[in-house]
Amino acid sequence: MANKGFTRGQTQVLFRHLPEAVFEHDDYGLCKVTQVALGDADVNRDALFDAIGDALAMWPSDFSTKYPDTRDVSRRSYYAVGSPREVRFVPYPQVFRCRSCSRTGKFTDLLKRGASASGRCVCGGYLYQIRYVQAHNCGRLEEVFVPQQSCSNCGSSKDLAFYDPGRVKQARWYCAKCKADVQALRMTPCKCTYNKSLPSGFHAEKYLRIVPTGDPSLYIPHTVAFVNFPEDDQGKLKNAPDALQLMLARTWGLLKNSVTDTIRERASMGKPEDADKMAETIEALRKFDPTNELVLEYDAKKKAPVGQKEVDRVNELLNSCNVTTTGTPRRWLVEHTTLLDRTDIGTIEDVAAIFRRTGDEAGARDIERGRDKASDLLGISDIRIVNDFPLALCAYGYTRTSRDPVRTVITPFPVDDRGRIPVYAIAAETEALWFQLDPLKVYDWLFKNGLVDSNVPASREEAWARLYAAVPGLRSSPHEPMYDQLKAVAVRTLLHTMSHLFLRRIEWSGFAPSSVGEYLIPGSLSFILYANRHAETKIGGLTTLFEQRLNTWLWDAVQSGRECVYDPICEDGGGSCAGCTHREHNCVCFNRELSRAAVYGGPTPQASAFQGARLAHGYWQEAWKAAPTE
């Protein structure tokens, strides 16, 4: 069927027009999507399949058997990943009813009984699609069952009509000729995995349910959002010699160049000379002029490759803390490095410089004041705007009648002509604000709360190394023993609480808190707030907030963060509840590891790792000094 007047955005297609969805077309009435053609999608396939795997793990194993295991790369060829491009559909359902005489039947049967192809009944009345279908928890969709028998009273087989009072229990099939009752709506049983999981005996869920075509529960697409870090970087970066030290150097601010470039340059220096064109040229030059500047420069570079100074410094710092730099760079470190190296980042200095170029000295001073307050009083060493934070959204299947994994079988979209399961993904670049705490201030805060023994280090780099050595839980995955280390929980609680407090006042950006996601990287004392949009365009709300209102927003968030409508009960109970730090949407940690005590001091939640202990020193203890002055 042609796609007359049917243009929708990709996100809309992802939620409403994927295969097996029933929708109302402006021109063709009720239709069912049969196929959605795939276009290119620039997504990290590992991240995508990890996200799908996480989502599928919520279903009992019997209810997700139609999906090949996404963990095994060899089985990922059973999937076709792409962006939704062209929606193909057919009219559905094909059971029609006459507006005048209520005669009802499948369209092909009505044609045989004398109805016209243009949609007129034998009586001359208009035919319209019946607006009910049958659906089951296993994903099965059927048209309403049309009885095939003749009327038992008058024997007519052409005059079946449908009485639709709007309630399934009272709806009846009857004979339009003699008005005799034929039967009620049939409850079609289903033989599926879901039914096998139900207890024996009568159970309403064992039958297909009659559902209006407009009911949202008829088709529930399942989508998952993920951070779409560039593909293949992990392997290349992780396996490079000294990768761990280089990434730490970059994260700690010791290495100014990108890790990818540094590793590439180091690798080319380390190759055999006959394989390196540069080396060949230099060797040729050396024969003629051994003291040539280029030769000497090459020799010096080879002696001390790019980044070696920083690698040595990291080793030295860690050795001084009795940590050996063995091991592999973990994902958080690769992610932090990738974001630094591969995204378009704007700093406060950049914005201030732009303001000054355009003659807006007041604007430049305001944002710099914001930076100074953040650094001196709030313990935030860096606030950056990421203009192209990589985000993706993918749809991997659908359920009917319910969203609940325990009550539904997840169904993949019908396979394409090559037998592959389509996965629809949209990659987008969104705006994000990236906060990084000052390691010196964090260490000082831990010390003042009695969580670390030794005094505050002299420099920022020493503080990074001390934190790396003393708080290994910050770089561990949740199942590793050190993850639950009290000081690691403390720092994560601090980061997470700050993230939520800033989100409480994110309205300054024009975004509602529910439209902004968070991403925590505790290992680098970072958190990221990003606009949860999957469109090709950017609204610029976070950018404007960063450039125009940073100072105001920070102070507002710090001030209002103290308040909770449930105080003093909330404050006494640990300072974390639905009235203050909890978020309804988008919290990656499900509102765990939160407490206003981390930033303002006071009792911690009983259910936390601190077991209600009082934190004497709040991270924002000095924040009152940031109050605007007359």
């Binding site: 590992d46 990890d50 795997g53 599928l56 793990a57 919520m58 279903w59 009992p60 194993s61 997700s64 295991d69 996404t70 963990r71 095994d72 790369v73 060899s74 089985r75 990922r76 060829s77 992990q234 392997g235 290349k236 970066l237 992780k238 396996n239 063995t326 091991g327 592999t328 973990r330 994902r331 561990s476 995955s477 949740p478 199942h479 590793e480 023993p481 993850y483």
Partner: protein, 263 residues
């Protein structure tokens, strides 16, 4: 009678073993394509000596998938032929909190496991029917370092085919971190259809050293329960590896995933 036992019965100690060792040691790192390559063994082991030696090498894991002769298992095989006496077994313990026994390391089991993982240079095998995130988490850092060294790490467990199972959940973070590292992580899962309960708990490093015992890879087994294991070295380790390899070959367990699989 195994090929190794036949070989052991035919060669004279010490001279034949010495000659066999000299000849085989020269082949380490080389590909031994077939029994015919070992034709000289007929002089030492009699009729079909080449075939018997070839089978013994296969039995004892001396040849990898490409047919390359591996030094460590070969050394173990030669030691076994030589008749090197085995030392006393070392016991590994996890003791419940508060239980102190003089001379017993209460965290000896986990320490022993970590030492084995650290030692592995070519391949590492971990067998446990039950895995739990906290248990695998205790080994994660060392296993990742091992993978970074290019070691092939194999887990054999139950119920890892389903993505929502405990076993899958416990291995998921390790799988993600292992991506892109030089070594390969393979996970095999016992097929429930065969009705076989996988119940061994083993850690085997390079077919040269192993631990055998009662501890599953769960948080409690490695930290709180009373668990006992034995550190094993020498020929018996090759047997452990051999049995697990046959288990895989015979389809008692199937591959759940492999981090180096090609799409």
């Amino acid at each position: 009678m195994s090929a190794f036992d036949t070989l052991a019965a035919r060669v004279q100690r010490p001279d034949d073993v010495r000659r066999l060792g000299q000849a085989l040691w020269m082949l380490t790192g080389e590909r031994v394509k077939s029994a015919a390559t070992l034709f000289w063994a007929k002089a030492l082991a009699g009729a079909n000596g080449d075939e018997i030696l070839w089978q013994a090498l296969l039995e004892r894991g001396c040849l990898n998938e490409q047919g390359t002769l591996l030094p460590r298992p070969l050394a173990e095989l030669l030691c076994s032929l030589w008749g090197e006496p085995q030392g006393d077994a070392t016991l590994l313990w996890t003791l419940p909190e508060g239980l102190e026994v003089s001379g017993v390391d209460p965290a000896g089991y986990i320490s022993g496991m970590l030492a084995l993982i650290r030692e592995a240079r070519e391949r590492l095998l971990l067998v446990a029917p039950f895995m739990e995130a906290k248990g695998v988490g205790r080994l994660q850092e060392e296993v990742l370092c091992t993978l970074a060294r290019g070691v092939a790490v194999t887990f054999v467990t139950q119920d890892a085919a389903s993505v929502g199972s405990w076993a899958s959940d416990s291995l998921e973070l390790l799988r993600r971190e292992a991506r892109g590292l030089a070594g390969v992580l393979r996970v095999y899962t016992a097929s429930a259809d065969l009705g076989v309960l996988l119940h061994s708990k083993l850690v085997v490093a390079d077919g040269a050293a192993a631990s055998v015992g009662s501890a599953n890879l769960t948080g409690k087994a490695l930290a709180k329960n009373l668990e006992t294991g034995v550190a094993v070295a020498g020929a018996k380790v090759i047997e452990l590896e051999l049995v697990v390899r046959r288990l895989i070959e015979m389809g008692y367990v199937t591959l759940a995933f492999d981090t180096k699989a090609v799409a």
